[in-house]
């Protein structure tokens, strides 16, 4: 990777972290309504994934979506605006913290029903295969087994992002089977942050890791360090290339940690201070900054400068959104959003 790409990874991680810190501050100040799910500590997973994708590759994030949304390219001002409920938000203030779709940045937005975004991402892969292969790839009677399906390269993939909690959903397993039999170009990206709300993956998942389940669906599966941004980037690149060659789906599990609670009301009684300390020492941003200094890419002073620059950038975006936060849809406008219009066919 060249220097620009390396710096870009740090920039994405810092933006994600500062966005979460600002969000927490705005919530505590009572300026944002509802709830929020912060992803502090998971920045390497989010930046590493998004940086490794190409234009046209769609993501369907989890409800803990801010970092993915920033890293895929959305304007943080539009994200803050969404949380202020203003018309300038990505979903015009109709979505909130968990719903930040952005079609101009290939982001379908997340489902607040944990695991339900996975079949949607599989559907994008279905469409992608359609675009690249033409319809022939799915004929009901042409192929007797998945092995007969032609291995045809595809232009774009989709990423079904889900957590360790969602890995137990039936729809996730159904999606993996569907993707495998039709060789759909989808990356199943399990962001294992060790807890589904309060439920630890140790208590809730039968296998020692989620990636081992790939074998049941005849696709490759791999578990990697999700706090090492370069490891994530490399693993995703490898998976993307495999999928784009037309080989079908791939399951990548990245091991990380949610350093904050599940949502703003969480007192974190289900885990120990020792465990939290262990992961705090493996903070993905600190790890990466240390590496950049060791490799002579950036000096400690330059890192400090970049941090200040990115914090000011996020601050400026939050202020812009706050200034316009009272621009809202009217209740009548809201009713008009229920149905899409349909063109008359002539």
């Amino acid at each position: 990777m060249d220097r620009d790409a390396l710096l870009n990874l740090l920039r994405l991680m810092l933006d994600s972290r500062f966005f979460e810190e600002k969000t927490e501050q705005l919530f505590k100040a009572g300026l944002i309504h509802g709830t929020t799910h912060l992803a502090n500590g998971q920045e390497a997973s989010q930046a590493g994934l998004c940086a490794a994708l190409d234009d046209g590759d769609w993501i369907v994030p989890t409800h803990r979506c801010h970092g993915f949304t920033i890293c895929r390219g959305s304007d943080p001002a539009e994200m803050f605006a969404e949380m202020f409920g203003s018309v300038h938000g990505l979903a015009k203030g109709l979505g909130g913290s968990m719903h930040m779709p952005d079609s101009s940045h290939w982001n379908l937005g997340s489902s607040a029903v944990v695991g339900s975004g996975v079949p949607l991402a599989t559907g994008i892969a279905f469409w992608n295969r359609f675009q690249s292969v033409g319809n022939a790839g799915f004929a009901a009677s042409t192929f007797s087994s998945p092995k007969d399906y032609p291995k045809t390269p595809v232009k774009n993939i989709s990423v079904a992002i889900f957590g360790d909690g969602a890995s137990s959903r039936g729809s996730v397993h159904e999606s993996m089977n569907l993707a495998s039999i039709w060789k759909l170009p989808v990356l199943f990206y399990c962001e294992n942050n060790h807890y589904g709300m309060s439920a630890s993956s140790d208590r809730m998942i039968s296998s020692s890791n989620v990636a081992s389940r790939a074998g049941a669906y005849d696709m490759p599966g791999e578990t990697i360090d999700g706090n090492d941004v370069l490891a994530v980037y490399e693993a995703v690149r490898k998976a993307v290339e495999y999928i784009k060659e037309g080989n079908g789906p791939y399951l990548l599990e990245v091991m990380t940690y949610r350093t904050k609670g599940h949502s703003k009301s969480d007192r974190r009684l289900y885990r120990t201070a020792e465990e939290e300390k262990l992961w705090a020492d493996r903070d993905p941003i600190k790890l990466y900054e240390r590496k950049l200094v060791e490799d002579g890419i950036l000096s400690a002073k330059e890192i400090k400068g970049l941090e200040e620059e990115r914090r000011a950038y996020i601050e400026e975006k939050a202020n812009k959104a706050l200034e316009e936060s009272t621009d809202r849809l009217s209740p009548n406008d809201v009713e008009d959003m229920v149905y899409a219009t349909t063109e008359d066919r002539s």
Binding site: V60, G89, L90, A91, K92, G93, L94, G95, H99, P101, D102, S103, L108, G109, S111, V113, S116, V118, P119, L120, A121, T122, G123, I124, F126, W127, F130, G134, N135, A136, F138, A139, A140, S141, T142, S158, G170, S171, H173, E174, S175, N177, L178, I181, M337, V338, Y339, A340, T341, T342, R345
Partner: protein, 321 residues
């Protein structure tokens, strides 16, 4: 042409026009569909008919995602009873896509749901679940009563940019009828018959009961208007209210049980419109199926839905006091 052939023709015609129209479901390919609706469709459109594993939630969610990208998938749910498995992708996702994305995405998916009793399939293969979906903002629902409407409404459903649930009553599949040239759009009710004494509102298979009821009433000198709803959501309020005001009396006949049903919604529209309510000369007559799971035993199964003789008697006694 039978009702089932009309559905097949609608699918075929839309597939011919638009390669983005695909049929996805269990045994819809070589098998020809559980109720033989798709037949040889896979031969005509080999690339647009897709057999799936038994994964209703998974393939429906997949179709929702594909629809958000601009495809126009039609899902066949083998028995409407399996709606429980697609509630999440349809109600939480398809129905809310346009709204929750601030208009960035829409979801032009059509869900075909073979419903209704009379086939002796027991309580988990004979339900009519439209009542359970009508409360979900963002969905449209259609329930045709004849081959021509089935043809035109299915084509309109596929073209519509919103998710549409298409309810096919299994007892109508063998019904014969011509396809009329004039297309029936979504959102319009049909007046099948004009009479001066009472307006009967019905939909789907129960329209047969409504027509037979009207015939029995005529023998007693009572003449009925019959309104076939065709689209269940959004309801054609204008036509319903106008036709009720014209006669000043209304009977609603439906096969599914009446609790929180389509008939209850029609009744609510009538009673909450001051002009229409004032026009009523007698209370709204609600006739629906029994509120029990559908029994297997042939005679008992038959007894769970309204019959024309009972309907005619109730209407006569209300009118004649």
């Amino acid at each position: 042409m039978t009702f089932r052939e009309a559905i097949r023709k609608a699918l075929s015609d839309e597939m011919s026009i638009d390669p983005n129209v695909v049929l996805i479901g269990e045994d819809v390919g070589v098998y020809g569909g559980c109720f033989k609706v798709t037949g040889d469709l896979y031969k005509e459109h080999p690339n647009q008919v897709i057999d799936t594993p038994v994964s209703e939630e998974g393939f429906t969610g997949m179709a929702v995602g594909a629809a958000m990208m601009g495809m126009r998938p039609v899902i066949e749910i083998m028995y409407a009873d399996f709606f429980t498995l697609i509630f999440d992708p349809i109600v939480n996702h398809a129905a809310k896509t346009h709204f929750m994305s601030g208009g960035q995405f829409c979801c032009p998916i059509t869900v075909r749901l073979p419903e209704g009793s009379g086939t002796g399939h027991g309580a988990q293969h004979t339900q009519s679940p439209e009542a359970l979906f009508q409360n979900s903002a963002g969905l449209k629902m259609v329930a045709p009563s004849c081959p021509s409407d089935a043809y035109h409404l299915l084509r309109a459903a596929i073209r519509d940019n919103n998710p549409v649930l298409f309810f096919e009553h299994k007892m109508l599949y063998d019904m014969e009828g011509d396809i009329k040239d004039e297309a029936l759009p979504l959102g319009k009710a049909k007046i099948l018959k004009k009479g001066r004494d009472i307006t009967i509102v019905s939909y789907s298979r129960a329209v047969q009961t409504a027509l037979e009821t009207a015939r029995l009433l005529e023998e007693k000198g009572i003449f009925a208007t019959i309104v076939d709803l065709c689209t269940l959501k959004p309801l054609d309020r204008t036509t319903i209210l106008e036709e009720v005001r014209n006669t000043g009396r209304v009977a609603i006949i439906q096969d599914p049980n009446g609790v929180g049903g389509i008939g209850a919604q029609v009744c609510s529209e009538i009673c909450s419109d001051p002009k229409t309510f004032d026009s009523l000369k007698s209370p709204v007559i609600q006739i629906g199926g029994k509120c029990t799971p559908v029994p297997f035993s042939k005679e008992l199964e038959k007894s769970t839905i309204p019959n024309a003789r009972d309907c005619a008697e109730r209407i006569t006694s209300t009118i004649k006091g």
